[in-house]
């Protein structure tokens, strides 16, 4: 496999992890964030500073980065999660940009606009894919537990959720923290793959891209998020030689998908192989319809 293809796979993995976080926050809690690139930045800088300046082992950095991001999310969430709709959104936007500006400003530690280079290349494809699978599994199980259900209850009807005894403030904080931790993990992997980070890599368009991906995948579908991430990471790579038409095509794709697929690629459903099996059975076992019915259960 060429380094390039491997690179694209790793990039997909990193994006998937960040998008999964946003998916939990936006798809399942209906909280919109334009600041998750800020959490990515925190995870990236924290882990990179640990490995470069303090010689910490990579696994430690990989744990500490997300934890710091989650702690920051907790603090921010305590202040802002009461806000509704776009008001919350704008505070996350402000947060994301503030983080970027802060890293820009704190030159002695972060290298400012020049960025932080010389980060050890630790993110291998094996690690990236492995962590992505764990992240997906963790999110999947989380959403199918009381935690996920409570988040969905908040998404559907906040007042009713409170009325059945759900501490909505607390669960929103959980959701926000997990999404930040996922972003932080993505940031840490990113830093140790590209060996370099700079504030501009975590700007508003990056945050927006994460949210767009989740919406396109379908608000409320984890597998949809993954599918959309693959699509939206690989498409620009394919379009890379389209030069100036590249971002134009990306923008158009977003509009077209959202207009033509009103609930995103997956809607509230999860991707499953069952339809493929059913199709297979329909095609190959046509003369035996009873069996198909039996299997469908």
């Amino acid at each position: 496999m060429s380094g390039y293809v491997e690179g694209v796979i790793i990039l997909v993995c990193i994006n998937v992890i960040a998008v999964l976080g946003v998916s939990i926050l936006t798809g399942f809690t209906r909280l919109f964030s334009f600041g998750n690139a800020g959490f990515m930045a925190i995870g990236a800088y924290a882990s990179a500073i640990l490995t470069t300046k303090y010689g910490a082992p990579f696994p430690v950095a990989l744990v500490v980065g997300p934890i710091i991001a989650a702690i920051v999310a907790l603090g921010l969430g305590k202040l802002t999660l009461k806000l509704k709709g776009d008001y919350f959104l704008i505070t996350t936007l402000g947060f994301g940009e503030s983080v970027r500006l802060l890293f820009l400003f704190a030159e002695p530690i972060t290298g400012g606009a020049r960025g932080l280079s010389g980060i050890p290349p630790k993110t291998t494809m094996f690690i990236a894919v492995g962590i992505t699978m764990l992240a997906f599994l963790g999110a999947w199980n989380f959403l199918r537990s009381k935690y996920g259900r409570n988040l969905m209850a908040i998404r559907e009807q906040e007042i009713a959720a409170e009325a059945v005894g759900i501490n909505t403030a607390k669960f929103k904080e959980y959701s926000f923290m997990i999404s930040a931790a996922y972003a932080g993990m993505a940031g840490a992997l990113l830093a140790h793959y590209y060996m370099f980070i700079s504030p501009i890599m975590f700007n508003l368009p990056k945050s927006a891209e994460l949210t767009i991906t989740v919406v396109i995948g379908g608000l409320g579908s984890l597998s949809g998020s993954v599918l959309a991430t693959i699509l939206l990471t690989v498409l620009p790579e394919i379009f890379r030689s389209a030069a100036e038409y590249r971002m134009l095509l990306y923008g158009l794709a977003v509009v077209i998908i959202i207009v033509l697929k009103p609930s995103g690629l997956m809607g509230y459903r999860e991707f499953s192989l069952r339809p493929i099996f059913t199709l297979y059975e329909r095609i190959f076992k046509k003369n035996n319809p009873t069996q198909t019915k039996g299997d469908g259960k």
Binding site: N141, S145, N150
Partner: protein, 256 residues
């Protein structure tokens, strides 16, 4: 000991005095009715009991403990469950999930167990599911457990809301116009249904309703509200004959 005591409750919205010196005591195990003209303040009383509004003045005690300044979820955890005048289900979720969500307090596992499915997770989840399916059987929605809640017919939605409320293991159940939009036959069924859950779940019930047949055949005692304060209180028969109630609420000829 009374289960709920409200004393001198006031709730003002700017100049509007929605509740104006309201007091009531609910004895454990009875079914109470709360009736009164539109805008009398009935729903507002529910909203203050459940913590959605903070009262302007007054006290509310559940089993001797004050609920004032508590968040709605805390009050729910103390044992008060409710339904809403305008139905508020988790519309995009399945019927079963609507009920399971309300059982979250029965799930004792932590985040880590949830993410890995280790520890108490499996056992807890199975118990909850069993409990909820039983609940759905009682309200008669077992067959529709996988349907999307928002697409159910109106009457079924009201029942689902009650099932969801019951899932929180309440000792006091507040129902806001449970029979609204039902015809006579359906509301008669609902009377039996509520009597049934009342017995099975060892509940105290306070309900708001404008269907007089419904209220009269179900309630042990009725409070009548006007302009935010009680104008009458007593058994259905007493209330029905009270001239102030007829004047303000029932109207002269009642042929329903």
């Amino acid at each position: 000991m009374p289960i709920l005591t409200i004393t001198n409750l006031h709730k003002h919205f700017g100049g509007v005095k929605a509740i104006n010196d309201f007091s009531i005591t609910l004895e454990k195990g009875k079914i109470y009715g709360l009736i009164g003209p539109n805008g009398a303040g009935k729903t507002t009383i529910f909203n203050t009991i459940t913590g959605i509004y903070e009262p302007t003045m007054g006290e509310i005690f559940l089993n001797g403990k004050s609920v004032i300044k508590k968040a709605p979820y805390e009050i729910s955890n103390m044992g008060i469950a409710r339904t809403f005048q305008n139905i508020r289900l988790f519309g995009n979720l399945s019927v079963l999930d609507n009920v399971i969500i309300a059982c979250h307090a029965d799930a004792k596992y932590g985040i880590f167990e949830a993410m890995t499915k280790f520890g108490r997770f499996k056992k807890n989840e199975e118990e909850i599911k069993e409990k909820c399916i039983k609940l759905l059987q009682i309200v008669g929605l077992e067959e529709m457990r996988d349907d999307t809640a928002g697409a159910l017919p109106y009457g079924h939605q009201r029942k689902l809301e009650i099932a969801r409320a019951l899932a929180t293991n309440p000792s006091l159940l507040l129902l806001d116009e449970p029979a609204a939009g039902m015809n006579e036959k359906e509301s008669e069924e609902l009377v039996r249904f509520i009597q049934n859950i009342h017995e099975n779940f060892d509940l105290t019930i306070l309900l708001i309703e404008h269907h007089m047949d419904f209220v009269m055949s179900l309630c042990d005692e009725i409070a009548v509200l006007n302009f935010g304060s009680t104008i009458a209180m007593g058994t259905p028969d007493e209330v029905k004959r009270n001239p102030a109630v007829i004047e303000a609420y029932l109207g002269g000829e009642d042929d329903a």
